[in-house]
Subunit: 455 residues, 2 copies
Amino acid sequence: MIDPANLDITGTAEALAAGDFTAEDLLRAYLARIERYEAGMNCFITLLEEPALEQARASDARRAKGERLSPLDGIPIALKDNIDLAGVPTTNGMARFRTPVRDAAITQRLRDAGAVFLGKVNMHEGALGATTNNPHHGAAQNPWRPGFTPGGSSGGSAVAVAAGFCAGALGTDTMGSVRLPASYCGLVGLKATQGLISTRGVVPLSYGLDHVGPICRSSRDLSLMLAILVGHDPESTESIHPHRALRTKGVTLQGLRFSVPLNLAAVACGPGIRENFEAHLAALERQGAVQVDLRFPTQDCTGTRRAGLLISEAEAGHALEAELLAHPDDFSDEFRQNLEYGRSAPAHRLVAAQRQLLTVGQRARKLFDEVDLLLLPTAPQAAFSHSDKAPVNQADFTQWANHSGCPALSLPCGLSPDGMPLGLQLLGQHRADRRLLAMAELIEPLLPELPMPAL
Amino acid sequence: MIDPANLDITGTAEALAAGDFTAEDLLRAYLARIERYEAGMNCFITLLEEPALEQARASDARRAKGERLSPLDGIPIALKDNIDLAGVPTTNGMARFRTPVRDAAITQRLRDAGAVFLGKVNMHEGALGATTNNPHHGAAQNPWRPGFTPGGSSGGSAVAVAAGFCAGALGTDTMGSVRLPASYCGLVGLKATQGLISTRGVVPLSYGLDHVGPICRSSRDLSLMLAILVGHDPESTESIHPHRALRTKGVTLQGLRFSVPLNLAAVACGPGIRENFEAHLAALERQGAVQVDLRFPTQDCTGTRRAGLLISEAEAGHALEAELLAHPDDFSDEFRQNLEYGRSAPAHRLVAAQRQLLTVGQRARKLFDEVDLLLLPTAPQAAFSHSDKAPVNQADFTQWANHSGCPALSLPCGLSPDGMPLGLQLLGQHRADRRLLAMAELIEPLLPELPMPAL
């Protein structure tokens, strides 16, 4: 039997369709890996072995009758533990939070597509941070190196895919929390246009900045997942109609206009980050792409990051108010103090932060009047040791897609001098998600292919 | 010569086109009325007699060459004093504020249409209130009765039109500040779909709730003004593309589905308000319109009004921060204290207010899945004496259009038992402004015609 740990979702769907293995075989292969490696990964908060086996068997029964619900039918997916799955606890990375009676909008979409729910995975507490060194559920480990962070806040989602526990997972991204762990773990991760994928049934961090997104092994998988996840949700205040997000015009690298919207020389980057990035720019130019000199409206990554943090702390402080008052011990001291800080900040500071990000985001969207694509490293550093202090600037390159609402994704693009994966971030025009994915599929073959990490 | 004080904008444009009078004649007729009645009205903060005469003569010169810029060419318009006109002080109803070097986006649109800028008019201080009893510029007087409020915050805009100083004025509407003075003064007033008319160059009260809108004598004038004022403004963070707002399908009263979305029996209404309103509902039903039983998501007008106030105080407190710090004496104690209250409120209260209005507004928009039109009295009372305390619930019926972003307008619909004008409020589907105006033009002839007030 083919080892499913090496396959992407698309390849797995083809193997299932060809009868190379059944959905139950597939799940059992993943469960065997989980059995063997989970203790070293600390990936799962809730593993759903029995319900997943039932779902896999039901999928096999459908397939036997020629009734496949979607390419995802029978394929195990891991959910970040801030996404509601009916009847299963949602911890939000806290000691406890709630057990929902209803699926999140996106969970329902996955269910309707026949996905198998493998489990709920570890995350940075409350999604407010990017190490997934979780005080209640332990530190998730980077499959590329024990003791190293997988990034966050969707760290467990990236671990699940990178460790070969499944081929796809969902995370959430408020300042970069899907793209950062994808980058740190050698995977692809997508944050679609704001509002395109419903966040209903996902614990809020920031109402306006939150996004749900997939972490997978290939950009073709991102397209497959996006097609399943997108859809107007009339119950969600943030949901938009898809419109042109799903249209693609012919995209070629020849003549493609791109820009690097920050002066990277002025940002503290880890070893090899800039060199790796510049090599990829040169490769793109060799394919006929044209670099245009355009910059984000400000180089002040710190100011915009702090504005995003204040908004997140105030809004999560509002969203989690009942739990803060009733069960303060379910929060770590640090997380509780951050929320209390945001809750009690004077309102004019929150207004200033909201206006700042609205203005910066709007001006960033305007750059696409002149270019097709913005490129940045996904993060200013590769994954670091859990024993090191987290760099403050982890989200300095990813935050812009949240402020602007533009789609952005991370592609694995090589290794740091220290042997840890790096990510190349592509930002596309607002509501032109399909075009961004088409560009990603053209750029992906230019980048070095990473092996599976040796566990 | 025809007395221009009796004409609406459309009629004035026709008379100008027919050569019944020139733009200079027209302006001089208005200036004569202003000379005679302004002392009793307290309408103008800045009267622009000389520049207006120049603009009127330039319009006449264009007309002589057959080069009319728009139907508005040569017609005097009054601007609320929170709307920037280049080179003229904008007081925002404060002691002083700024002298802009640049027109507001809408001022530029009026200028491009050939409008004559008659002056900047009185308003409630900072637009935060609805009496236009201004501590710095005096109490504007209702042309229908000396000593009575014209409403607010765009009180001067309504006085200018009702007193026959001009045929049209611009106001701003954050919770009802265009529709309330229109109602109190026997005029029509429109708040278009949120974002359809740019607010760039207008002093902010609340970034998300602010709207600019015209006050005129007829609903056909609202259509004329809307066509001139609408347009995407790439410099404005709040601006939207017109899309379907400007499309009209055939609208008839026969079969039109409407609803009264609040239980008026549970609201403290002034004498005659409910009886007048119900008579108009009956008249609509006689025309074949069908009343449907649908309600706003909450009857809690007080809760939503307070949320809107907190947002306005916090956001205006942010927008006016530099002036608050540098020139506190330019603010009345009450206005300054209100802004300080909003500025210093804990951020979680602001988040709660923002979420409340977002949810209420979204659910209110959903009502248009089932009806074409929502109807309410514009205000729970007619104009009252400046010596009476302002009722707290003035904006309880108007605020919903701001929370939802839906277009709404007020039509004069008779007199209170005490002889003061009343208004009928029509709310239409989000971005279906033209359809709302088409309904207004069908309903207007069913309502009693009011005379000009005797000054």
